[in-house]
C-alpha cells in the first residue's frame, strides 16, 4: 500500500518535472502523456520480448522518446503560444492512436507482462532528476533558459539560439516523461493505450502549474498533493471527481501562481544580493 503511494507519487513527480523542464524554455507541453506512453511501450517491448533488464530498457525508451520529441519539437517549436499548445495536444492524441493500431503491442487490448519496478527504482529516479535540476538551477545554463523564456528576440540578439534551446528542453522533457512511463508500466504489469489519453497530459501539466513553476520545488509538491488528494477523498464515492475539481479550483483561487510560487523577483533579489555582497567583500 505504502509502496503504491511511493511509486505513483514518484512517477508523477518526475512527470511534473518533465513539463517543468520544457516550461523552463517557455513552452507549455500537453504531449508528455504521449511521451510517457512511448516510454511505457518501448521499455515494455524491450523487457518482455527481448529480455532486457528494466534499468537498461528505461533509459533506452527515454532516448527513443527524446529523439521523437526533438523530431516533433523542431517544426512545432517554431510555432508560438496557443498554436504550440495545440501541436503538443496533437502529438499526445496521435501517439495514443498509433499505439492502438499496432497489433505487435496488443492494440487497444493493451500490453502486459512488464514487472520489476520497486519503490527504490522510483526513489532513485526522483533523487537523480532532482539533483540534475538543482545543478542546472545553479549553472549558467539557467540564465540562458530565463532569457529565452522572457524574450526570444532579445535572447537572439544576445547570441542565444532560442530554437535550439527550446528543442533541447523538449527532448529532455520527453526523455524524463518516458523514463517515468517505463517505471510506471513495469509496476502496473499491464497497460492500455486508454491510460495515456489527453486527460493524462492535462493532469501532468496541472501537477506542475498547481505546484508553481518558477522554481524546481513547485512541481513535485503539486504532483504529490494531486496524487494523494484523490486517495483521501475516496470516501465520497461518486462525488470524488467533483471534490477533486473543487479542490483544484480552490487552490487556483488561493494561490494563482501555484502553491510554492515565491515572488520570483524576491527570490532572485536575495540570491543576487548574496552574490554582490561577496563580490564587495572580495574587492575590499
Amino acid at each position: 500500500m505504502i509502496q503504491d503511494y511511493v511509486v505513483f507519487v514518484g512517477v508523477n513527480i518526475v512527470l511534473a518535472w518533465s513539463v517543468y523542464v520544457i516550461l523552463l524554455a517557455g513552452s507549455l507541453s500537453f504531449a508528455n502523456g504521449g511521451f510517457m506512453a512511448i516510454g511505457a511501450y518501448v521499455s515494455g517491448v524491450l523487457t518482455v520480448k527481448f529480455g532486457l533488464p528494466l534499468v537498461v530498457a528505461a533509459p533506452i525508451a527515454g532516448i527513443v522518446a527524446g529523439a521523437i520529441g526533438v523530431l516533433v519539437g523542431f517544426p512545432a517549436l517554431r510555432t508560438r503560444g496557443i498554436y504550440l499548445m495545440l501541436v503538443t495536444v496533437g502529438v499526445a492524441v496521435s501517439v495514443k492512436a498509433v499505439i492502438e493500431s499496432i497489433d505487435y503491442v496488443g492494440g487497444i487490448q493493451g500490453f502486459g507482462g512488464m514487472v520489476g519496478t520497486t519503490q527504490w527504482h522510483v526513489i532513485a529516479l526522483v533523487v537523480l532528476v532532482g539533483c540534475g535540476l538543482w545543478l542546472l538551477s545553479k549553472s549558467p545554463l539557467q540564465r540562458i533558459l530565463d532569457a529565452v523564456r522572457e524574450d526570444e528576440l532579445s535572447a537572439a540578439s544576445l547570441g542565444i539560439n532560442a530554437v535550439y534551446v527550446k528543442v533541447v528542453c523538449f527532448g529532455v522533457g520527453a526523455f524524463l516523461a518516458a523514463v517515468a512511463g517505463s517505471f510506471y508500466a513495469h509496476y502496473l504489469i499491464h497497460v492500455t493505450p486508454d491510460q495515456f489519453g489527453i486527460v493524462l497530459s492535462v493532469f501532468i501539466v496541472l501537477y506542475a502549474v498547481l505546484g508553481g513553476t518558477n522554481n524546481m520545488w513547485g512541481p513535485p509538491i503539486g504532483a504529490a498533493i494531486m496524487t494523494l488528494i484523490p486517495e483521501f477523498v475516496r470516501g465520497l464515492e461518486s462525488w470524488r471527481p467533483t471534490a477533486f475539481g473543487v479542490i483544484i479550483l480552490g487552490l487556483l483561487l488561493i494561490r494563482p501562481d501555484g502553491l510554492l510560487a515565491f515572488r520570483s523577483v524576491t527570490a532572485r533579489t536575495k540570491r543576487a544580493l548574496t552574490i554582490s555582497t561577496s563580490d564587495v567583500a572580495k574587492s575590499d
Binding site: 530565463d146 532569457a147 528576440l153 539560439n161 533579489t269
Partner: protein, 245 residues
Amino acid sequence: MVRMGPMTETPVLAVENLQVSYGPINALRGCTLEVRAGETVAVVGANGAGKTTLLRAICNMLPWSGAIRLDGVPTDRSPTHKLARQGVIHLPENRGILTTQTVLENLQLAFDTYPSKRSFGAAVEEAFAHFPRLKERQAQPAGNLSGGEQQMLALARAIISTPKILLLDEPSLGLSPRMVREAYRILRGFKARGMAILLVEQNVHAALRFANRGYVLRQGAIVRQGEADVLAHDTELFNQYLGFT
C-alpha cells in the same frame, strides 16, 4: 583588418537594395547604405518611415530581399543569434533588457555572447566605470530600473559584447532631455574608441550632431544622404521630408 585607404576600404556593413514587405505593404523599398570602419551613421526619418524595420532586417529578424554584407561577406540570412556572435549587436527599441534578471545577470549574458580574452570581472569593472549608477543597482532585477537606467544597462551590455557594429534603435526614446544628453555623451565615448555605429532616430538634431554621415528615410526609401553636418543645416530637408522645421 588591413586599412587600404578610404576609397578601397570594405565597409563594415553594406546594405544594397534592401526590401521588406509586411503583406501588401512595402515597408522598405530598396534601401542602399553603408557603414565604414569607425564610422557613425544616422538614419533619420519620421514615424513609420521604416527605420526600425531596417535594423530588424539587418539582424534577420524578419524576411527581406536584397543584399547585406558584413566586411564584404554576404550574411546569407544567418539567423539573428549567429549575427550577434559575429558582432552585429542590436539594441532594440524596447532595449532588449531581460526584466526578471538582475543587472549583473544581464551583463553576464552579454559577456557570454562573444568570445573574449578578458575575464567577466574585468569587463564588468569597465562597464561600471562608465555607468557608476549600474554598480549601485547591480543586484536589482532590471525591471526595477528607471527608463534611463535601463538605457544605461543596454549600452553597458553593448560595451561588454564588444560589437563589430552596433545597431541602435531610438536610444533617445522615452528619456528625459538630461538622459538623452547623457546617453549621447556615452555614445560619443563608443565613437571615440572606433566602434562602427548605425543609429536610427526620430530625434533628428541629436542624431545628426552625433553622426559622421546621415541618410534620410521616407516611406521606405532613402531620399537624401550626405555628411551629417551638411544635412543638419539643410532647412529644405527638414521642411520637405521630416515635416517640421
